[in-house]
Symmetry: C3
Subunit: 279 residues, 3 copies
Amino acid sequence: MGLCLGYTKPILVLRRLAVSVDITLTTDFGTRDGFVAQMKGVILGINPSARLIDVTHDIRPFAVLEGALVLKGIARYFPIGTIHVAVVDPGVGSNRRCIAVSAEGRIYVGPDNGLVSLVMSPAAKVEVREIRNPEFMLPEVHPSFHGRDIFAAVAAHLSLGTPIHLVGPLVDDPVRLAIPAVLRTTEGLQGEVIYSDRFGNLSTNVEANMLDRSVQEIVCGDVRLPGIKRYFQEVPEGTPLALLNSFGLLEIAVNRGDASAILGIRIGDRVAVTWEHLD
Amino acid sequence: MGLCLGYTKPILVLRRLAVSVDITLTTDFGTRDGFVAQMKGVILGINPSARLIDVTHDIRPFAVLEGALVLKGIARYFPIGTIHVAVVDPGVGSNRRCIAVSAEGRIYVGPDNGLVSLVMSPAAKVEVREIRNPEFMLPEVHPSFHGRDIFAAVAAHLSLGTPIHLVGPLVDDPVRLAIPAVLRTTEGLQGEVIYSDRFGNLSTNVEANMLDRSVQEIVCGDVRLPGIKRYFQEVPEGTPLALLNSFGLLEIAVNRGDASAILGIRIGDRVAVTWEHLD
Amino acid sequence: MGLCLGYTKPILVLRRLAVSVDITLTTDFGTRDGFVAQMKGVILGINPSARLIDVTHDIRPFAVLEGALVLKGIARYFPIGTIHVAVVDPGVGSNRRCIAVSAEGRIYVGPDNGLVSLVMSPAAKVEVREIRNPEFMLPEVHPSFHGRDIFAAVAAHLSLGTPIHLVGPLVDDPVRLAIPAVLRTTEGLQGEVIYSDRFGNLSTNVEANMLDRSVQEIVCGDVRLPGIKRYFQEVPEGTPLALLNSFGLLEIAVNRGDASAILGIRIGDRVAVTWEHLD
């Protein structure tokens, strides 16, 4: 027994080194004030082997849908076992729930306001737990900073191998965000702009697999685009184009320009796709 | 002896892997120009096992007090043994000293301009050393980039276990920043706004433990707030409130809004707290 | 043989832990949208031991020369063996080549548009390969996101020890950016401003080693500066000065001020250095 212990300990040390779970962070906290660093300190204090990856801290303040879209965009690029912490949380301190979600091999930790709902595809097996167990929170939870005192701490404990069911009871009605639906007519599709990226490229809610007929035109405001290009440089500099972006969505862009600024298009603006007439 | 060496070497390798010290970085260097990356390259060149954590590089240029407040805010969330590098350094190259500070189990490295002074509480045992030993600097020190050529290099050497006393002589008069004092009257407290965060929330210098009587009103400019709330959503959207923030300071905020912009309040503006009359 | 295997496996595990290659990232992707995080997820999925270092994601959109200057500035501060990924890529998806470059012990991965050309000094032994082998790319390459689907994936494979010649054929005519040349006259030097940093400090193309005579004056627009200072605080606050910056370039700055804004100087503006008359 004594001998066994003698051999076991170094092996445990090795395992800890080896099991370095990735924890990503997606917030609207900005980078100026040290809020994110406080979360990182909490995580590393609980699990010194965790590896931290910043997704973004530049979600517009309180823009839950924007955060949810970014999170959905990045989630599947990280290995199975990754823990994604997301905090865009205007209701912090109120009675909105805190949740931990297991879906498709990754774990998501954040407020129950829809932020982590776009990664819960209806098809996939999803387990949602309300975070209630104070054992996995900091001893003092500040009512305006659950990101640090609850979400970071819980994520760190989960990264150490704590089973998710220990954080609290099952939730069967997590808040789900709705991306506006695309309307399908005999003429084509009626969608809208749902996201504008750093370059001013405009993502719509029209998914690549909805474009199952030959496209004649894409119309948004005053802009009429003849069909879908593959990449920016297929049109001259400063010219608008439509393409399928890396999220698999129809996008309106300007080659080497800021489409949002140049075309005056904003989130919520309507986009019409018309099919080619076959007469 | 030969055999012993044969066994010792791999164990040393393991120890190096295990002793991965955290080094945090707090600067006003921004993220555009690669200055911070140069510091990181220097650190990893000296200690390949160091783990780097960005606190912020968005301190306003030359805003030493702002940097000091952020550093104080994050420091205690990191584990004992963490090395915090901080560089907001308008006097770089002049005769202001470079210092390394040991306080409450963490080490701080930066210019002696008050930036690391708020973490030196009068109560705690603090050791301040002037960085003089060129052995721990880069061979060529550029007069306008001590962040890279002195502070990063010294932090990396300290993270390898170099005892702090080797960097240079004791300093008994480090520059200390003063946070403006709160005035206490029979009517209440007279404080001021000392920090505005990314959301526009306004931190005052009034600490939670100063609020030892029942508060009737908080007044700042034209804004009169009836008492202290616990979290943002206790008031309707767009409404101002006072609360105790996660730094333990009295804060003026607007639910889902930018208090600084909406209320026109700035750093330095006076804040009055009045006690309830008990007559 | 069986026994040998029994010993070999744990050693392999240790080697993987030990061989943690640094991969740096320099892009114009910004930090809002999760593009960089997607790249990081791809890298960590291929090489879980890679260590990721953000250089900057705030290169101005499509500003290839700016990215090239930042990359050149940071490259030599990272240890031999570092892999630098750089993506400022307005031509993504077109027929511009993708390249991997081995130069002075580091590897560079990015588009062949000059972005990684400033690190290829004519003197150094440089190997440039066109990335063609689909084995090292993601299975589906999106035409507008080579950063993720090609560059990140290739860098991760190279960090695992894949020899660079496997990525594709030699390139003998990589695109090279030209930094504007400095004109040397009997009176002095004619250069120009090539970079403005986060503080508004203005880098010129005049290198320290070109200043081989005694300087009488530096002139840029309306600004006349008498000689070269060593550090900012040699002049009063708000006063312009010339100094040699940490890139080894002549710089025009303002002590504690934003020289670009205060002096109205921009990238491309002419700078004249006049030698002292020895009569």
